[in-house]
C-alpha cells in the first residue's frame, strides 16, 4: 500500500464522489416524489391509475437496476429516444427507487389506525385536513426507518452507473486499476469514499427516527 499514490488519486476520486453524490441524490429525491404519488394512488384506490401503479411497482421491484439502465441507455435510442448518461442514471434510480419508496410508504399508510381518521373527522376536519394533518405525519414517521434503508440501498445501487460510462467512484477505481495496476490503493480509496457517502445517511436516519417517533399513535 502506497500512501503517496493514494494522495495523488484523491482529486480524481473527489470528482467521482461529486458525480455519484449529485446523480444519486437527485435520483433519490425524484424517487420520493414518485413513491409518494404512487403510494397515494394505490392507497386511495384511484381507478385505472392504481392498476398502472401496481404494474409499475412490480416491474421495477423485480428487475435489476443494471438491466433497467441498459434498456434505457442502449435500447431506447433505437426508437429515437436518446438520453444523456447522467439523465439515464437519474431516471433509472428514480424509477427503481420510486417502486421501493411506494411500498414502504404504503405500508406506513396502512399502519394509521382507523380510529385516528374517525376521530379527526368527528372533530370536524375536512378530508384534505385529515390527510395533511393526521394521516401523512403518522405514516411518514412510521416509514422513516424504511426510507433510510431505501436511501442507503439506492446509494449503493449507484455503483452500477459505471456500466453506462458515467465516471462515478466505481468507474474511476476500475479505470485507475486498469491504467496503473495499483489495485489495493484504489480499492481502499473506493471503500473509504463509499463510507463517506453512506455513513452520514445512516446516522441522520437514526437521528430522525428518534426525533419524529414521539410515541405510538392511537395506542
Amino acid at each position: 500500500m502506497n500512501l503517496e499514490v493514494m494522495k495523488d488519486y484523491l482529486p480524481l476520486f473527489g470528482e467521482a464522489l461529486w458525480l455519484t453524490f449529485w446523480i444519486g441524490w437527485l435520483g433519490i429525491l425524484l424517487s420520493f416524489v414518485i413513491g409518494f404519488v404512487t403510494a397515494l394512488i394505490r392507497h386511495y384506490h384511484i381507478p385505472v391509475l392504481q392498476r398502472i401503479a401496481g404494474f409499475y411497482i412490480e416491474l421495477f421491484r423485480n428487475t435489476p437496476l443494471l438491466v433497467q439502465l441498459f434498456f434505457i441507455y442502449f435500447g431506447l435510442p433505437k426508437l429515437g429516444l436518446s438520453l444523456s448518461a447522467e439523465f439515464c442514471g437519474i431516471l433509472g434510480l428514480a424509477l427503481l427507487g420510486g417502486a421501493y419508496m411506494a411500498e414502504t410508504f404504503r405500508s406506513g399508510l396502512l399502519t394509521v389506525e382507523k380510529t385516528q381518521i374517525e376521530s379527526a373527522m368527528s372533530l370536524g376536519m375536512k378530508k384534505g385536513q385529515v390527510l395533511r394533518l393526521v394521516v401523512l405525519p403518522e405514516a411518514i414517521s412510521v416509514s422513516i426507518p424504511g426510507f433510510t434503508a431505501n436511501v442507503i440501498f439506492l446509494l449503493k445501487e449507484t455503483s452500477v452507473f459505471s456500466a453506462i460510462s458515467l465516471m462515478d467512484l466505481m468507474f474511476t477505481a476500475k479505470d485507475l486499476i486498469g491504467l496503473y495496476y495499483k489495485t489495493a490503493e484504489c480499492l481502499t480509496l473506493l471503500v473509504i469514499f463509499y463510507l463517506i457517502i453512506l455513513l452520514p445517511v445512516s446516522f441522520f436516519g437514526s437521528y430522525l427516527e428518534r426525533r419524529v417517533r414521539h410515541a405510538g399513535f392511537g395506542d
Binding site: 428487475t63 435489476p64 438491466v67 441498459f70 433505437k78 449503493k156 449507484t158
Partner: protein, 226 residues
C-alpha cells in the same frame, strides 16, 4: 411500426444462448442462496447470544455488508485479493463467494429479527406448562420463527437473482453479456437489436423474479401473525 430489433432473437441459436446466459445467473444465485440460507440461520442464532465477543464480531460483519455495495465487494474479491495474495480466482467462484458473504449477513439479520420478535410470554408460558428448554425451542419458538422467516427469505432469493446481474462487470458471461454479444454480432443486419434484446432481458428477469415475489407475498398473508 418501427423496427424493434426483436427478429434477431430468432436467428440461429440466439434465443437459446440468451436463456443459457440466464441460467448462468440463476445458477450463481441458487448456489449463493443455498449457502446463505443455511449459514445465515446459524449466524442469526449466534447473534441472539449474549457473549460480547460474538456480538461485536457479528455486528461488525453486518455493518460491513450493509455499507459496501455488492459491486465493491466483487471488485475487492476478484481484483483485490487476487492481486494482494497472488492467487487465481474463477469469476463465477468469486461471485458466489461475494454473494454468499452478503447473503449470510442478510439472512442472519432476518433470522435475528424473527427470533427476537417472538414475545417473551411464549417462553414463559412454555416454562409454566413444564416444557424443557430444548422443547420450548423446537416445539414453540422454531415453528413460529420459521413462519416469519420463510416469506422474508424468499424475498432474499429474488434480491440475489437481481444482484447477480452485476457479475457481468467482472467478466462472467451471463444473460446481459450474451445479449451484448448478440447485439455486437448483428450490428449490420439488425441495427435496432439493442432495443429488442435488452427489452427481452428485462422481461426475462421479471419473469424469473415476479412469481417468486408473488409466492412470498402469498405466504406472508397466509401466515400473518395477529
Amino acid at each position: 411500426m418501427p423496427d424493434l430489433g426483436i427478429d434477431v432473437l430468432f436467428k440461429g441459436t440466439n434465443a437459446k444462448r440468451l436463456l443459457e446466459g440466464l441460467w448462468v445467473s440463476v445458477r450463481i444465485s441458487l448456489i449463493s442462496v443455498a449457502i446463505s440460507l443455511t449459514l445465515g440461520v446459524v449466524v442469526g442464532i449466534l447473534m441472539t447470544k449474549r457473549q460480547k465477543a460474538i456480538r461485536i464480531l457479528t455486528r461488525g460483519y453486518l455493518e460491513i455488508v450493509r455499507f459496501m455495495p455488492q459491486m465493491v465487494l466483487l471488485f475487492i474479491v476478484f481484483f483485490g485479493t487476487t492481486r494482494v495474495f497472488g492467487w487465481n480466482l474463477d469469476a463465477e467462484f468469486a461471485a458466489v463467494v461475494v454473494f454468499s458473504f452478503w447473503g449470510v449477513a442478510e439472512m442472519a439479520d432476518l433470522t435475528r429479527g424473527a427470533l427476537i420478535s417472538i414475545p417473551k410470554h411464549q417462553y414463559e408460558s412454555a416454562e409454566a406448562l413444564g416444557f424443557s428448554g430444548r422443547q420450548t425451542y423446537f416445539l414453540i419458538i422454531v415453528p413460529q420463527t420459521v413462519r416469519r422467516l420463510i416469506p422474508l427469505s424468499i424475498n432474499l432469493i429474488t434480491r440475489m437473482i437481481k444482484t447477480t446481474s452485476l457479475v457481468m462487470m467482472i467478466g462472467v458471461v451471463e444473460v446481459l453479456k450474451v445479449g451484448q454479444q448478440i447485439i455486437e454480432a448483428n450490428r449490420k443486419s439488425s441495427p435496432n437489436a439493442a432495443f429488442g434484446v435488452y427489452a427481452t432481458v428485462f422481461v426475462l428477469y421479471f419473469l424469473v423474479c415476479w412469481p417468486i415475489s408473488l409466492f412470498a407475498k402469498h405466504l406472508e398473508k397466509k401466515w400473518a401473525v395477529e
